[in-house]
Symmetry: C2
Subunit: 387 residues, 2 copies
């Protein structure tokens, strides 16, 4: 059910003719209210796709009543013509739903530099409108898939009996994780009553510890969008802390599903930095390792190469003593005080899940960054995608 589990939402997924294989490729999600509070975060890439340019204006007033998403084309670097396509799609959704286009978020994903066929999209909106239903979440989730092997969704329920409220979410792709797709799109719904400013704070607190900590190859998408909408249909108003906790759990669940489905990956790598001077520094150090092609290729080769971990840590500005770093791989402390410790041969890297722990001995902050290994399949996938 995902995004249609919370009360007050309908959704649909249809085939608009963008994908040549006939699969679903256009999704529509409507918030029926009574509240229309929302919050969004977008890619930090300065070269943004047209749907992002449109949507970042839409969300500024904290009101979103519908999200329309298509796979099969990112509508990125397609110029004014492409922007007009995004605008036309939003207008069509608005016309069908009897709302304003300025309350319609548009998301696109697929190849960049190719125009999306406008008429297909407009016809697809008509079809999706006709198909909107309170159990359309699953179809919507499939319609946003590109090379995802499975749809990603989450449902959480909170509150005492009679006071229940819930969160639903769907996600596609993997931003930098499965970068052939070049985009991560996430829509989250809740039937709790949550004013837009609280939603915004909660969303930023949640993406900070979930999607922002996925880093497969350091490449930043042009289309990433995460939108949360609150319908208020449950009539329940959780405290900001309660809501934030639940939204974080939902986002972390979706992020881990993206990690698990990353194309071409043989390993899922969790890099945890402990005893950092600050959380930001812990993230900086974790990310430096997550972006080391050398370390990631070593993991692919089942080689617990802690020297490549230290070489990455050394590129950061975080507080630490270069001569006093400890590194564990799968809980085996192969490096103590920046010198060899336990025998690396005792580290078994065959299982899919790998943990790296780096002790900076500089404070008490901790953060975990997630990545994948660098594999032949990654190179193959990304060298063959658009040719």
């Amino acid at each position: 059910m995902s995004i249609t589990h919370p009360a007050g939402f309908t959704a649909a997924g249809v085939h608009a003719g963008l994908k040549s294989n006939g699969n679903l490729d256009l999704a529509l999600v409507q918030n029926l209210g009574p509240t229309f509070d929302s919050a969004s975060v977008f890619t930090a890439n300065r070269c943004k796709a047209n749907p992002v340019l449109w949507s970042q204006e839409v969300v500024k007033d904290g009101v979103v009543r519908a999200v329309v998403l298509n796979s099969g084309g990112a509508n990125c670097y397609t110029g004014p013509e492409g922007f007009q396509t995004t605008h036309a799609v939003a207008e069509k959704v608005a016309e069908k739903l009897g709302i304003g286009a300025v309350d319609v978020v548009v998301c696109s994903t697929g190849l960049i530099g190719l125009a999306n066929p406008r008429q297909n999209l407009l016809d697809g909106v008509e079809a999706a409108y006709a198909a909107l239903s309170a159990d359309g979440g699953a179809d919507a989730g499939r319609a946003i898939m590109t090379t995802d092997s499975v749809p990603k969704s989450v449902v959480l329920t909170r509150g005492a009996p009679g006071q229940e409220w819930s969160i639903g979410g769907m996600a596609k792709g993997a931003g930098m994780l499965a970068p052939a797709m070049a985009t991560m799109l996430v829509v989250i719904t809740t039937d709790a009553v949550v004013p837009a400013p609280v939603l915004d704070q909660a969303l930023r607190a949640s993406t900070r510890v979930s999607f922002d900590r996925l880093d497969s190859d350091g490449c930043m998408s042009t289309n990433d969008t995460v939108t949360v909408m609150a319908s208020g249909a449950s009539g329940v108003t959780p405290t900001p802390a309660e809501f934030t906790e639940a939204l974080q759990e939902a986002c972390i669940s979706l992020a881990k599903q993206l990690l698990a489905d990353a194309e071409g990956a043989d390993h899922e790598i969790s890099i945890t930095v402990v005893n950092a001077a600050s959380e930001d520094e812990a993230v900086e150090v974790g990310r430096s390792v997550a972006r080391s092609n050398l370390f990631k290729a070593a993991v692919f080769g089942n080689d617990p190469n802690w020297g490549r971990v230290l070489a990455s840590v050394g590129t950061t500005q975080a507080a630490f003593d270069p001569a006093d770093l400890d590194v564990a791989i799968n809980d085996v402390w192969v490096c103590k005080q920046s010198t060899p410790a336990a025998d690396p041969a005792t580290v078994d890297l065959k299982p899919r899940h790998v943990t790296v722990t780096i002790d900076l001995k500089a404070g008490d902050a901790t953060a975990t960054v997630w990545t994948n290994d660098l594999t032949h399949a990654y190179v193959h996938e990304n060298s063959a995608y658009s040719s």
Copy 2:
């Protein structure tokens, strides 16, 4: 001849038993004077190898009389014991040459996290001392190779008849280029009379436009060292500008040789950023593209994927209008004003050399950054190296 082409230098390369295949693995270069001016640059990695920790102290007074280099072990992350090995090697060189250990630069390259066998190194210094000769440059160049397929060297001669002076250089590996080696080591000699402060300025001006613009995989070595020594044996004092021009040419030649020999690479990619607001911003933009695994995998697949170029440019803080960027690949302008232009199918990416030109339309500064494609061979090489 390389480093022994300039007058006033002797060199040798011997087998000290570090490489199991019996190849040369220890090199010694001596400056016979009459001047002993020098300058060096080292890796910016904070987790530096022991030879770098030693050598950066040695070079502070601008005097270096010998450089000893070994392949077969980086002596990195080997703790105080490893530092003592570096120190002992410098002392042994000093004893044999009748100079102070504080004038001996030590360089090591090979696997990190493994102790170098101290006695082999000391015995190797004895052998290298015995073999020092005015035509030992070629042996020295071979002794510093790790997975290099060919030695890299350069010789330049300058000056009017009777006033000639020359520069010689040798290089190994490729720092980030052929990262299995994890290190770029460069020794440059000249028989010109060049005071240490001029050498230092000239060296920084030269590495800035040569080695610093090589970026294969974004990974920063722990052992990179570039040392230049001036013997003054020609008796000729070039102007600082003359010397800097020649040193730049020598460094660019060596950098391009490193690029050409990068392991696992099918393509050499020159990324030139034009009309940037500053040279620093041009380099920032070029480096962002050089570090895009997505773009580099596309080049491996002979796919002129300019969308991935723009997506990388968008991650920088350089001045430009995201809606007005032009991109050429092999001189075909496939993107104008951030939209599709010439048909990418007309770009032939089969040749080894690839040029990418990015027009920022924000000023008049230009810079070129060099990289390679991301290939199956890269993944193989770096997943299999130490296991």
